[in-house]
């Protein structure tokens, strides 16, 4: 990206941020677009609950694309994802690929490719089988190795289409260490050979993740960079392990890559239901987001709690915690409910999430995964329900309101008229 283009993007984003933040605090300078709604929802009260989506494999399935094409060719990936997000009218979408694999593949890790689902790390053949293997690893050339060029070109296309930078994704060093060693081996390292575990984490943090984030930022000028950390979850690892082996490396990366206008954070873990006091995990999650970020109160932070957890601990517990910490609560919609439906049940779920979670703002709904083959009316129902029930201030008589299923054009027809070619 040229410095002029970069400055233009930055200015556009700044204007949107200012408008959204002003709106979220009661100063209305016009209506919000989807991006602004998300920002307003992160900082305060938007006009209605923002719905964001990760098109992912559902977009792939809707277009009949193979996993190989979707996860390695920028044009079909971005166009199919754009079509899906646009068709359902979500407020914001992220170009989400198999973000746990990119750096690993560039390091030389073998992946298993399947026709209709995302590629997976071949856990039967981890890259670092022994301590000696670490010395043989060569850091990837950021943006050049593996599918890194695919990611950068996809982001460039996203920026061109949307006019705002994407939320950029990286794999956290902790999760990468688990994948590169295998879970059992890395647990053993942490317990029996912590010095090696730290050496591995240091290499992954400073030689792999940091240069990759810097490269993504150089290309996209992303305002938010998310390191995903599914393996830093309970009960798979203890909170003590996260404190010793995860948090310090997040901090190192964040300090090396963030800026006053760029927030780099770590999220995606889960496990509130797996511990006696869910606050223990919520505290860890807050640290994963704030470590290394100066002035966290000004940062676009979101506390993501997954359905498996909020269904156990209660949405109200998560809401209370987010209020105490003055942070946006993000809840996903249960993928199997979206898949199985019916639309009325989905709408009812959205109504309950809004009722218990939306409060007076700082709340976002996430459609993180729609299983391939899900009837489109199920997704339409979720988005429509968020619109019908999610207007601020949230109606006190929400339960008495009737859900109206929206009319919609079949996807094939819509894509022919308004979609992008894949």
């Amino acid at each position: 990206m040229t410095s002029l283009a970069m400055a233009r993007t930055q200015l556009r984003v700044m204007l949107k941020l200012n408008k959204a933040i002003a709106y979220s605090h009661g100063l209305r300078l016009g209506s919000l677009d989807g991006y602004e709604r998300l920002i307003a929802g992160i900082y305060g009260t938007p006009d209605r609950v923002p719905v964001i989506a990760q098109p992912y494999t559902y977009a792939m399935g809707m277009h009949g694309l193979s996993a190989k094409a979707f996860f390695s060719e920028p044009k079909p990936f971005i166009h199919a994802s754009w079509n899906m997000a646009r068709y359902f009218g979500v407020d914001f979408w992220s170009p989400v690929f198999d973000f746990y694999n990119i750096e690993l593949e560039a390091l030389g890790q073998r992946l298993i490719w399947r026709e209709r689902s995302e590629p997976d790390v071949d856990t039967s053949d981890p890259l670092v089988k022994s301590e000696g293997d670490l010395a043989r690893l060569r850091p990837p050339r950021p943006g050049l190795d593996g599918r890194m060029p695919f990611v950068l070109e996809s982001y460039r296309r996203y920026l061109e289409l949307m006019g705002v930078p994407p939320m950029a994704y990286a794999c956290s060093p902790f999760t990468m260490a688990v994948l590169v060693r295998g879970y059992v081996n890395f647990v053993r390292d942490m317990r029996r050979n912590p010095a090696f575990a730290h050496r591995l984490l240091d290499f992954l943090s400073m030689e792999v993740v940091t240069p990759w984030i810097s490269k993504m930022v150089e290309v996209t000028n992303a305002a938010i960079v998310v390191m995903s950390d599914a393996w830093a979850s309970q009960p798979n690892v203890t909170t003590d392990m996260v404190r010793e082996f995860c948090l310090p490396y997040i901090e190192k990366i964040v300090r090396a890559t963030n800026s006053p206008l760029r927030t780099v954070l770590d999220t995606g873990s889960w496990g509130e239901r797996a511990v006696a006091d869910p606050r223990e995990v919520l505290d860890i999650k807050m640290e994963m987001m704030t470590r290394g970020n100066a002035l966290p109160a000004l940062r676009p932070l979101f506390l993501l709690v997954w359905n498996e957890d909020y269904e156990e601990i209660g949405v109200s517990t998560a809401r209370r915690y987010a209020d105490e910490r003055k942070v946006c609560l993000m809840l996903n919609l249960r993928p199997d409910l979206i898949e199985s439906g019916p639309p009325e049940a989905i709408a009812e779920k959205v109504r309950n999430l809004v009722k218990e979670g939306a409060g007076t703002g700082r709340f976002t709904l996430l459609i993180n995964l729609v299983p391939v083959g899900t009837p489109p009316e199920h997704v339409h129902a979720a988005v429509a329900a968020a619109r019908q029930f999610g207007s601020y201030p949230i109606a006190p008589d929400l339960e008495g309101r009737t859900f109206r299923m929206p009319e919609f054009t079949p996807f094939a027809e819509w894509v022919q008229k308004e979609g992008l070619p894949v």
């Binding site: 856990t123 942490m190 798979n236 006696a276 993928p335």
Partner: protein, 212 residues
């Protein structure tokens, strides 16, 4: 401390190298494979399970204990005479097609083995018809399926259908589990049982086979 206590401790503490050394030494000194199994390895995994249940151990501790148990078993299994060990039942188990996750399954497998079940571990990413074929060929009492992603969980319903189609459904108990699976889902596909964790899985199998 005798080898029994040393082995029990090494297994429960998840020190697989030490556990294997003690097992080898005990065999050399004349202990029978069955004694090494029951007084050392099984006792160790039981101890780890107890510490987990009481909240002293966390999942990583159990993982390391099961690894130590597996290593000892690898050494003594070929030495066990046919019929020397009696099993409470035969369990065939795997992660369903498309799913490469196996942590939870591995723990269930280890705890079932330590509870005297013969467990045939089909591994991960098991093609759906393979569950049915193996259940038939091995005359399984229990068929266990794990799914850790919502996208792969649906394969369980297909296995249930295939079992019906093959006329095997009445002859085998089906249990399901894994991060993506819920009790409601298990009921909806007609599984015989669902377990939320590995210890519960052992209790479930005991109950289904009427051995408690």
């Amino acid at each position: 401390m005798g080898w029994e206590d040393e082995l029990r401790q090494a297994v429960s503490e998840g020190d697989e190298v030490k556990a294997d050394e003690i097992a080898a030494r005990a065999l050399e000194e004349g202990a029978s494979p069955k004694e090494v199994l029951e007084k050392g390895a099984v006792a160790g995994i039981y101890e780890a399970g107890r510490l987990w249940q009481e909240g002293t151990y966390f999942l990583p501790d159990i993982i390391l204990a099961t690894e130590a148990y597996k290593l000892v078993m690898k050494r003594i299994e070929p030495l066990l005479a046919s019929g020397e060990v009696t099993y409470k039942g035969k369990v065939v188990m795997g992660s369903v097609e498309g799913d490469a996750h196996d942590i939870g399954k591995n723990i269930v497998v280890a705890l079932l083995r330590s509870a005297s079940y013969q467990v045939i571990d089909l591994g991960v990413d098991v093609p759906l018809p393979e569950f049915v074929a193996q259940a038939r060929e091995l005359e399984a009492d229990v068929l266990g399926m794990g799914a850790y992603m919502t996208t792969t969980m649906r394969g369980m319903a297909e296995v249930m259908r295939l079992l019906e189609e093959a006329g095997l459904r009445n002859g085998v108990k089906v249990i399901v589990g894994g991060a993506a699976v819920t009790r409601e889902y298990a009921e909806s596909i007609g599984a015989d049982g669902y377990a939320d964790n590995a210890a519960e899985a052992v209790e479930l199998v005991d109950r289904l086979l009427g051995v408690v």
